[in-house]
């Protein structure tokens, strides 16, 4: 369930998508602990909303590509935790929006779909810290070099940096870890030093260390945020990183502080897979 967010819709008036953004925001704030921000009033009297916007994760809902709500968030230096663009969602779900401003069957159906998706994503977030309930559904692609097999998840929610670390992003949280490339190179991992809970980590900052008989490496966080959980099992069983660095071998969970900004410096599966293959080939001559 989407809860405790500050919801900033574009509140558009002259396009159907804008009207949907408004309706979606209102529905998100009915009966649950979310707070709506009026984009017009926020510009003229920001004091009213600064407290809400500063304390809660921010969900921005833009109607169209003009992205008025996102622009407002940028103008006020707010960090966006989650973002929805109605026209993109309509396209993704093959729903044609009318030019009329009254919401009918299609538009209401789209609102329900987006609500469900947002809530489902949040439910995954709440499951993050309960290892027994985590459902990854990772779809792996493999690459073999000699006797070594490298797996990489190709799910769109998984982002990578060129330091061979991954971030599985759901809502305003991310679980992070290292890739198969790291664990294969280190060989048997003997020690894991976790980050401190509550530590504020910059993008590309250190978020713990892992050590094998061959080497010691810093784990470079793909995302910025606050450490809210660590994989304590790894302290006793660091070999889980060798067994499966993407699931049992995860390193830490972060509450994201600027994912929209971080994303610009991250890469997706396609690019990372190519980079990793090249690294493997270079290493093995």
């Amino acid at each position: 369930m989407v809860e405790n967010y500050a919801v900033l819709p574009c509140n558009g008036l002259d396009k159907c998508a804008g009207v949907i953004s408004r309706e979606l925001a209102i529905k998100l704030c009915e009966n649950v602990k979310n707070e709506i921000i009026c984009p017009v009033f926020y510009r003229v009297a920001e004091a009213k909303y600064n407290k809400i916007a500063g304390k809660r994760p921010l969900l921005v809902i833009d109607g169209c590509q003009t992205r008025c709500a996102s622009k407002l968030a940028a103008e006020k230096s707010l960090k966006i935790s989650r973002k929805v663009t109605i026209t993109e969602e309509a396209k993704n779900h093959n729903i044609e929006l009318r030019s009329n401003l009254r919401l009918l069957e299609n538009e209401n159906a789209l609102i329900e779909i987006i609500l469900n998706e947002l809530n489902n994503d949040e439910d995954k977030v709440t499951l993050f810290s309960d290892e027994t309930n985590v459902v990854y559904n990772f779809e792996y692609v493999t690459f073999q070099n000699g006797k070594f097999i490298f797996r990489v998840p190709k799910n769109p929610e998984v982002y990578y940096n060129e330091n061979d670390c991954w971030a599985y992003v759901i809502g305003n949280r991310a679980r992070i870890g290292v890739t198969d490339f790291v664990q294969q190179n280190l060989s048997d991992i003997l020690y894991f030093t976790p980050p401190d809970i509550g530590a504020e980590i910059d993008q590309f900052g250190e978020v713990g260390e892992i050590e094998s008989s061959k080497s010691l490496i810093d784990i470079i966080s793909p995302v910025s945020g606050k450490v809210i959980s660590i994989n304590e099992t790894l302290v006793q069983k660091p070999e889980l990183i060798n067994e499966n660095p993407y699931e049992l071998g995860w390193i830490a969970e972060l509450e994201l502080t600027d994912f929209e900004g971080d994303k610009e410096l991250l890469i997706g599966f396609d690019k990372y897979f190519e980079i990793m293959k090249k690294k493997v080939e270079d290493l093995n001559g």
Binding site: G12, L13, C38, R43, T66
Partner: protein, 130 residues
């Protein structure tokens, strides 16, 4: 220059009077005076975007505000629109003492009736201008 009168509600979200402003304007521009008026999105106007500024700059505008903050009137003026009439939902609401109009998300029958009244007032003003 586009001669249609621009009718801009405060687009308020979170208060029933903001919703009434919005609904009254939609009723006016789509049902009562579709040939003579159009609305412009206030949330877009306040971004200061060049395209929307050009749309209202120097044009006759009627603003409809839900509360005394007067977001619509202030921001249309800042963007260069000529505010020929500042309407306040509360002025009409005061004539219906004791009535409830619904919630910030849904108007009731009394709410619908009052927005029709406000829409008639807006339409009258549009017809005077055009």
């Amino acid at each position: 220059m586009d001669k249609k009168v621009k009718v801009v509600p405060c687009s308020g979200i979170g208060k029933v009077y903001g919703l009434m402003a919005r609904e009254a304007v939609l009723k006016t521009v789509f049902e009562l005076c579709p040939e003579k008026s159009e609305t412009v999105c206030l949330a877009y106007i306040v971004t200061g975007d060049k395209e929307v500024k050009e749309k209202i700059e120097g044009c006759d505008c009627i603003t409809v505000d839900g509360c005394p903050k007067m977001c619509a009137s202030k921001n249309v003026s800042i963007a260069g629109g000529i505010v020929v009439e500042e309407m306040k939902v509360l002025d009409t609401v005061k004539e219906h003492k004791g009535q409830k109009f619904g919630s910030p998300t849904q108007l009731n029958t009394d709410g619908d009736s009052v927005i029709s009244e406000i829409a008639e007032k807006i339409a009258k003003k549009i017809n005077e201008i055009n």
